[in-house]
Amino acid sequence: MAKIKAQGVNFYYGQFKALADVSMEIAEHEVTALIGPSGCGKSTFLRCLNRMNDTIPGTRLEGKIELDGLDVYAPAYDVADLRRRVGMVFQKPNPFPQSIFDNVAFGLRILGQTRGLADCVEQSLRSAALWDEVRDHLHEPALGLSLGQQQRLCIARVLAVEPDIILMDEPCSALDPIATLAIEELMRQLKERYTIVIVTHNMQQAARVSDCTGLFWLGKLVEFNPTEKIFTQPDEQQTEDYVTGRFG
């Protein structure tokens, strides 16, 4: 069964229709990449998955998005729980101006956890492949880390609250190539336990890390297929033109 199922999703910023009839089934324990030119709706769609767009006035969603079979836009759905289960990593690393430890413990403290914090922080940092680099500096400022380390810290902060799904919106666009490869390697490890959806402008990154890829174009999902197919033998001419760099 699909972990996330979007059915006939339309999304509006005021009068502007940013998504048109998008349907997609995102499989559990896979990396799904969303690609497409700027303004095509891929980030809007990503933010629909954990209702991040709710915070923007004048937005409206039609259609249905289900997580484990439950409609996340149903009135009874607990949005706070949704955001815990569906964590998000952003384009620029955004650690809080606190210590490394406090950054990772932040969500746990919000959830009221007071015991076993150190173990949870260690485990999250290990899962984010950062522990060995920071184990002796846990109480130093997070902003002293390199950008690549900061992004892995943000991933550790997401992992600490034990989500099912991690959404990543251009997570490597501010990072150098080595830090980028470190995050990509991390994604491959994390998908064993989590479901990952990544928006990327870097098509080669989509090709390297994802199992399935969706191409958005003018708010529509043009094609959604296994990544190998998208990059070797896509079904749609628009996909062919986009991945070969013949429109954009």
Partner: protein, 223 residues
């Protein structure tokens, strides 16, 4: 509708270079087959030696094209039809290098034959060579045009070559059975026929790759 742009001019230019080198290689290989039959007909050992020497040039060109494709993949990261075209160019250069080896094989046979007279007048062997060369030239056109129908038609012609090879084989076998003293000279002609039969198979492989390049599908055209 958004404006359509074309951002792959570097890929296109570099691919065009590899493709043009491939076509040049195809002409050299075609020429090598033609001259190997001329050498066989005229028992021209000088020409045979030239063919053998020029095979090194073809081998070097193959390395050049392979390198051009490797650089394309490493630096331009082609995808979809561009990736298939690049991989196909690499495959074709390999097949053509082997076809040249078969022409080389005929030239080497001419050297072995020395001054001995031909066992029989050459009839089917030059015909086989003509069909094989025609298939090769058409395959290069089909490669350029990404023409699937032409690729199928080219592969179908391999049956003509196979048919002529079987006829030569049966005829030479009968001659050898009748007079064992002819075995050496008959074997020379069998080698030549076998080289041409293999060229037909390799052009069929090229036709299969053209279908793959155009559609992404792998079809077995070797019946």
């Amino acid at each position: 509708m958004l404006e359509t742009h074309h951002y792959r001019s570097t890929f296109d230019q570099r691919y065009a270079q590899a493709r043009d080198d491939l076509l040049r290689m195809g002409q050299m290989v075609d020429n090598a087959i033609d001259r190997s039959i001329q050498a066989l007909r005229a028992r021209d050992q000088t020409l045979a030696r030239q063919i053998i020497a020029e095979d090194l040039v073809i081998n070097a060109l193959r390395t050049t094209i392979e390198e051009e494709c490797l650089v394309l993949i490493a630096t331009q990261q082609p995808t979809a039809s561009d990736l298939r075209a690049t991989i196909t160019a690499m495959f074709l250069t390999n097949e053509m290098e082997r076809i040249a080896d078969h022409a080389n094989g005929i030239a080497k046979t001419v050297l072995r034959m020395g001054d001995e007279p031909l066992l029989k007048p050459l009839v089917d062997i030059p015909r086989m060579a003509e069909v094989a060369r025609d298939m090769l030239r058409q395959s290069l056109d089909a490669f350029l045009a990404r023409d699937i129908q032409a690729a199928h038609a080219i592969a179908a012609r391999d049956a003509e070559i196979d048919h002529m090879y079987r006829a030569i084989f049966d005829e030479l076998l009968a001659i050898m059975a009748n007079d064992p003293k002819t075995i050496t000279r008959a074997t020379y002609l069998l080698w030549c026929g076998h080289n041409l039969e293999r060229i037909g198979d390799r052009v069929t492989n090229i036709a299969e790759r053209i279908v793959f390049m155009a559609t992404g599908a792998r079809e077995d055209l070797n019946e």
